[in-house]
Amino acid sequence: MSDKTPQFESEVEAGREVTLEEPPLYKVLLHNDDYTTMDFVVEILRTVFHKSNEEAVRIMLNVHHQGIGLCGLYPREIAETKVDLVERLARERGFPLKCSMERE
């Protein structure tokens, strides 16, 4: 082997690799309160989150018993849009329903 040091050794950029991760999905959550009706929550779950009747009722009961219910996993902007939509619909009908999103 030659004892000549390779000329470009120092020019190799080591470890500057950009950490590239797939963007996370977001959980959309409904929060319990004592004023929003169960019917409205079910309606929201069916229209906004496209749940079947049974599933909507199950999630609604989750919200009711545990204080919080998971409506689905979505890419960030879609989650955002849904949260916005839910809160708008609730306000229109005079319910204080709280909907939030959380990074998975």
Binding site: K4, P6, R16, L20, E21, R76, E77, I78, D84
Partner: protein, 754 residues
């Protein structure tokens, strides 16, 4: 506000979302649509992104992550907040930048700011950053490597082909020499039949079918590979080499732009894999020593040559290398495992006759380029003169350079209507390149040889016999009657000091127009000083510097080499000179040979002069007796084998008073030359001449005392006058002899005083 193009793009995004029955139209839909837009594609590609890749990713994303509204049910497509934000940002950006319209590029820039979005992720995954996009939008600075662009600008492969080839390592990092040959873009190869034949033989072996060309720089190693490509292109090769492709590896391209450890190796692997896939291909690596150690972080670790090794032995790919002797030895051969996989083919410098043929073969190319014609004589002169005067380089390269530059010179000189290049032009160019006076570069030195004797006699007096002997020997050698493989001449000049021995050597060099190399042997009196001439031994300081003598002769093979006062040198030095005189070569400590065949070796010695000057006691012819005594002294000092190799021992006579008078004239002429600068003219009477000759003459010391006399008697007096006195403004001075002393007269000053 929104440009037509953009609204079409956005419309496309919405339609796409609807078609796929997506609930929302999102940022990804915009990106999807942008990738079908002409401007969008242009930006992404120029930022180094692959449009197809991104589209595939988005498609995947649509399938997996986006909810679909079942067929049949009615729904209203909605925009996501992200969608609105992207457009809003682009619009407000355009507004604040006072742009009349929002364009696709603004949208693209805006997408990058959408946090946690898949659209941004897909772009980043292609290595595109927001800055790249902005750079391209703002200044049209593409991110793609220089290489790819230059290929593009060559405009050979069409857009379609280029895209297809983008991932082909052979296309990226090699040049197909056979294709270039077909396009007629290579210069023809002339001669070198045996080397080509050998190359083809090696290539057709079953294993280790890898030739490596080794030769000095400029002898045509690369040209040989190109010549092979041309032969393949013309189909003038044996059956096994038909339809073979010769790929020249671009090691620089392989290395350029590698960012991370392993990039380089990956590319090389790619090239090798591709070559394996195409059985009819040969890899050509110019400067193959560069692959030794390439990519290695420390010596001993994996490098490019180690990647090549396995495939080379197995004969899976064939490889041609080229390297110079020096680098082959220092780098390539040290990696013995690598060098054993190659068959070394030595490429020697072509003899001048062949070089002329090569130049003739290339003539048409250069004539076409410069719009000029070269005469046959000019080409011959280019070879001969470059061989003689451009010593650190090799044929045919240096001759081609001379030819090329002569063409450029004539074209630039603005001589309208000049259509031919003659040897005279070549002489001028060579003189310029070698930085020597034009008149000393001449194709025919016959004239110079003819004038050698009379001109020597003009400057050195009283040594007619010595000069005649010297000139005869030089003429004999030039006439081709000398002994080949020996220096032109080896002479020992003996005689008293100050009679012109050194002067003769200097004048011969000047008249012949060759370099004058002088070594004063009083500096080489110790045993170890010899090392200075041929280089220090290994382990000593200066080992890598080479020797003074060998370097001087290698630099100027055509020269007069003077060893002044040789009798003072250490006897070891004589032994070195023995082989110079015998075989005209001297090898320095590095094994490099200096060629003394075109050297005139002269040595001067005062040996014997003391013996000759002592007066003989007793009877007999005093002069003859002293001559024989001088000879005896020389014999005592120099060993028989040394004297035996000399062409001639030339005896210089002591100066006689008559000759001294001529010497006075010579010195006075020199003095007048110095005075002319001060606008002073000096005249003198014959009486002065005789006086100076008499006073300055001493048979033992030659002409040197005369110089001292002139200095004491004339120069010292004049210097005061020139600085402060009557000659301060120049003028005339006449010297005469009065009462055995020199008298000065200043006619002009006197006239003015009167």
């Amino acid at each position: 506000m929104i440009s037509k193009e953009l609204s079409a793009t956005l419309g496309f995004a919405v339609r796409e979302a609807k078609k796929r029955r997506h609930e929302y139209v999102s940022v990804e839909h915009i990106l999807f649509a942008v990738l079908y837009d002409q401007t969008g594609i242009e930006i992404i590609e120029n930022c180094g992104g692959n449009v197809e890749n991104i589209l595939a990713n988005i498609e995947n994303f649509f399938e997996e992550k986006i909810e679909k509204i079942p067929e049949g049910s009615e729904y209203v497509l909605q925009q996501t907040i992200g969608f609105q934000r992207v457009i809003q940002r682009a619009v407000s950006h355009a507004r604040s930048a006072d742009k009349p319209e929002v364009t696709v590029s603004d949208i693209l820039a805006s997408i990058f700011l959408e946090k946690d979005s898949h659209a941004e992720y897909f772009l980043s995954a292609e290595g595109i950053t927001r800055l790249d996009v902005l750079n391209y939008i703002a200044h049209k600075i593409p991110k793609t490597s220089y290489e790819e662009r230059s290929r593009e600008s060559l405009g050979q492969p069409g857009e379609e082909e280029r895209r297809r080839n983008k991932n082909d390592p052979l296309e990226l990092y090699t040049t197909d020499l056979v294709r270039l040959a077909r396009q007629g873009r290579l210069d023809p190869l002339i001669g070198r039949e045996t080397e080509l034949e050998r190359t083809m033989q090696v290539l057709c072996r079953r294993r280790k079918n890898n030739p490596v060309f080794v030769g000095d720089p400029g002898v045509g190693k690369t040209a040989l590979a190109e010549g092979l490509a041309q032969k393949i292109a013309r189909g003038e090769v044996p059956e096994p080499l038909r339809d073979v492709h010769l790929y020249a590896l671009d090691l620089g391209g392989l290395l350029a732009g590698t960012k991370f450890r392993g990039d380089f190796e990956q590319r090389l692997k790619g090239v090798i894999a591709e070559l394996k896939r195409r059985p009819n291909s040969i890899l050509f690596i110019d400067e193959i020593h560069t692959i030794v150690g390439a990519g290695a972080t420390s010596s001993g670790s994996m490098d490019a040559s180690n990647i090549l090794k396995p495939v080379l032995t197995s004969g899976e790919i064939r490889c041609i290398g080229s390297s110079t002797y020096e680098e082959y030895k220092n780098h390539f051969e040290k990696d013995r495992a690598l060098s054993r996989r190659f068959e070394k083919i030595e490429i020697h410098e072509p003899p001048p006759a062949e070089a002329v043929q090569i130049l003739k073969g290339l003539r048409s190319r250069y004539e076409e380029h410069h719009g000029i014609e070269y005469t046959d004589a000019a080409l011959k002169a280019a070879v001969e003169l470059s061989a003689k005067y451009l010593n650190d380089r090799y044929l045919p390269d240096k001759a081609i350079d001379v030819m090329d530059e002569a063409g450029a010179f004539v074209r630039l000189s603005g001589a309208v209507g000049r259509k031919r290049i003659h040897p005279v032009d070549i002489e001028k160019i060579v003189a310029k390149m070698a930085r020597i006076p034009t008149q000393s570069v001449s194709t025919s030195d016959r004239g110079k040889l003819e004038m050698l004797e009379p001109r020597l006699k003009e400057v050195v007096y009283g040594q007619d016999d010595a000069i005649a002997a010297l000139v005869t020997a030089i003429k004999r050698s030039r006439a081709g009657l000398g002994i080949p493989g020996k220096p032109i001449g080896c002479f020992l000049f003996t005689g008293p000091t100050g009679v012109g021995k050194t002067e003769v050597a200097r004048q011969v060099a000047q008249i012949l127009g060759v370099e004058f190399v002088r070594f004063d042997m009083s500096e080489y009196m110790e045993k170890h000083a010899v090392a200075r001439l041929i280089g220090a031994p290994p382990g000593y300081i200066g080992f890598d510097q080479g020797g003074l003598l060998t370097d001087a002769i290698r630099k100027h093979p055509h020269s007069v080499l003077l060893m002044d006062e040789i009798e003072k040198a250490h006897p070891d030095l004589f032994n070195i000179l023995l082989q110079v005189m015998d075989h005209a070569t001297l090898t320095d400590n590095n094994g490099k040979k200096a060629d003394f065949r075109n050297v005139i070796l002269m040595m001067t010695s005062n040996a014997g002069s003391r013996e000759m000057s002592t007066a003989a006691i007793g009877f007999g012819d005093g002069r003859r007796d002293s001559l024989s005594r001088g000879k005896k002294a020389v014999e005592q000092l120099f060993s028989p084998e040394f004297r035996n190799r000399l062409d001639d021992i030339i005896q210089f006579n002591p100066l006689t008073p008559e000759i001294m008078e001529r010497v006075v004239d010579k010195f006075m002429k020199e003095l007048n030359g110095q005075l002319a600068v001060r606008r002073v003219r000096l005249t003198y009477t014959p009486a002065v001449r005789a006086f100076l000759a008499r006073k300055g003459h001493d048979p033992r010391y030659g002409a040197r005392p005369l110089a001292r006399v002139i200095q004491n008697e004339i120069k010292n007096k004049l210097s005061d006058e020139i600085l402060f006195g009557r000659l301060a403004k120049g003028g005339e001075v006449h010297i005469d002899l009065e009462d055995e002393a020199i008298a000065f007269r200043y006619p002009e000053a006197g006239a003015r005083a009167a």
